[in-house]
Amino acid sequence: MMFDAIRFRDDFPALSTGQVYLDSAATALKPQPMITATSDYYRQDTANAYRSLYQQAQRTTQQIETTRQRVAELIHATSPQQIIWTKGATESVNLVAQSYARYTLKAGDEIIVSELEHHSNLIPWLIVAEQTGAKVIKWALNDNHQLDIAGLKQCISDKTQIVAVTQMSNVTGYQPDLAEIVKIVHANKAVIVVDGAQGILHSPIDVASLDIDFYLFSAHKLYGPTGLGALYVKADKLSQLAVWHGGGKMLKTASFSGFEPQLAPEKFEAGTPNIAAIIGFGATLNWLKQWDRLAAEAYTLSLAQQAEQDLQSISGFISYRATTSPILSFNIEHIHHSDMAVLLAEQKVAVRTGELCAQPLMRRLNCSGVIRAAFAPYNNQQDVLRLVNAVHTALDILR
């Protein structure tokens, strides 16, 4: 199947503003079917889920479960019961930390966290370490800014209970070898938590065949709505998760002397879910099926590569891009990233700049921040050209 980049781009109304959108790693743009489904829910189908018996309410419940099924299929979970709705990747990590780690960790146990991680996959571990007396251990990058297996072997031990690693860095776009990592983690009787926040957009994942214990992502980074995320939990871990938030619909029976929780996933979904978002995301996932995602990714990569190549001619250009990364983070010697950001914004080129919620990685890369152009399949050659020209114009002003 060929990837029809023009037709793909046409599905994103936000692109009609003329802005060059290169901030897809912060949040991806939304395709028309998602927007339509969300607005239809608010315009004509509004109803709560799991509660009432009238038609809309029943349909709403049905749609939520259909979307759960689509997420399961997307990441190759064996059952939709393993998919828990959350607010996003961040809340998913916190759920694992507070419902799993908090009850399994003992003083002296260790949590290995890679040096690449977004704060969302670091701070929840620091919090639970503080609560339990466990320690967070850094899995350092090697000289090529990669996570090598030797490095993991160096820090893993029989004290290690959890290893937390990203599927794809939000700064360099580097993707660690998850298959190898999982093997070592499991050989050491630890569990693996994979942050799929960036990977979900670019790399199809098979959580079952990779044997991942916890996998999580945010819908908004996969052409979906904000305020929604998912947490996948491997079947044998699901029963070990303690209740998290208490409230409506997470229980079977309640009285003043106690309650009996529901089974997963409802057990972890107290209160009214983000219905509009789930319905919108269902539409996104349905729309996504028509595209050859590998071909789309190959196309996206070619754009990032071309941008890097074209910028390489600038003296002092420093690229942090991993090979085969759709994300191009860079700096230009003696130019402050925020100066570049202001002047790119002036030229309607949307990029992200700064620490990118990854202060430890910034320290490792020896910089106070970067400029990040994150490509997606709705970008095109024209976007690359406008970025490159805008950088030159900015330099012309700044130098």
Binding site: H336, S338, D339, V342, L343, E346, G369, T393
Partner: protein, 140 residues
């Protein structure tokens, strides 16, 4: 006269002559180069302004004659240019004169307010507030 030896009038003139946004930024960068750097020992936590994307240091001192001296620095050139404007407007004035500076009118004349993004403008206003507070404190 202020540390840059540029009057407010000259400043407005200089910006008025710039036809495009690129030229106005160039002017800002040029100004940043005229801003005397802050002494290394003054680039400390005491003078550092928190919460900006750039590092910013602001030092406000009161002379015995009641005039204030403003020195400032930043690691970003655009911010440094903005600081240079603040120095031109504030440096060498008394507390009373400083309270009367019509900052937003001047930024409007310089066309800087339309150029800068909302968050930058907030940042700029924050710096002005810092200066006003430091002046008020040392004057009491």
């Amino acid at each position: 006269m202020n540390a840059l030896n540029i009057t407010e009038h000259q400043l407005v003139e200089q910006f008025a002559q710039q036809p495009t946004w690129q030229d106005r930024y160039r002017q800002l960068i040029a100004l940043s180069k005229h801003l005397p750097p802050l002494a290394v020992e003054d680039k400390n936590a005491h003078y550092h302004i928190n919460g900006c994307e750039n590092n910013v240091w602001l030092k406000v001192t009161r002379h015995h004659d009641g005039r204030f001296h403003l020195s400032a620095d930043s690691d970003g050139r655009i911010v440094k240019g903005l600081l240079a404007i603040l120095v031109i407007l504030v440096d060498g004035k008394t507390a009373e004169q400083i309270t009367q500076i019509p900052f937003s009118d001047i930024f409007h004349q310089l066309k800087i307010d339309t150029e800068l993004s909302e968050s930058r403008l907030v940042g700029l206003n924050k710096l002005i507030e810092e200066i006003r507070q430091a002046v008020a404190q040392q004057n009491s």
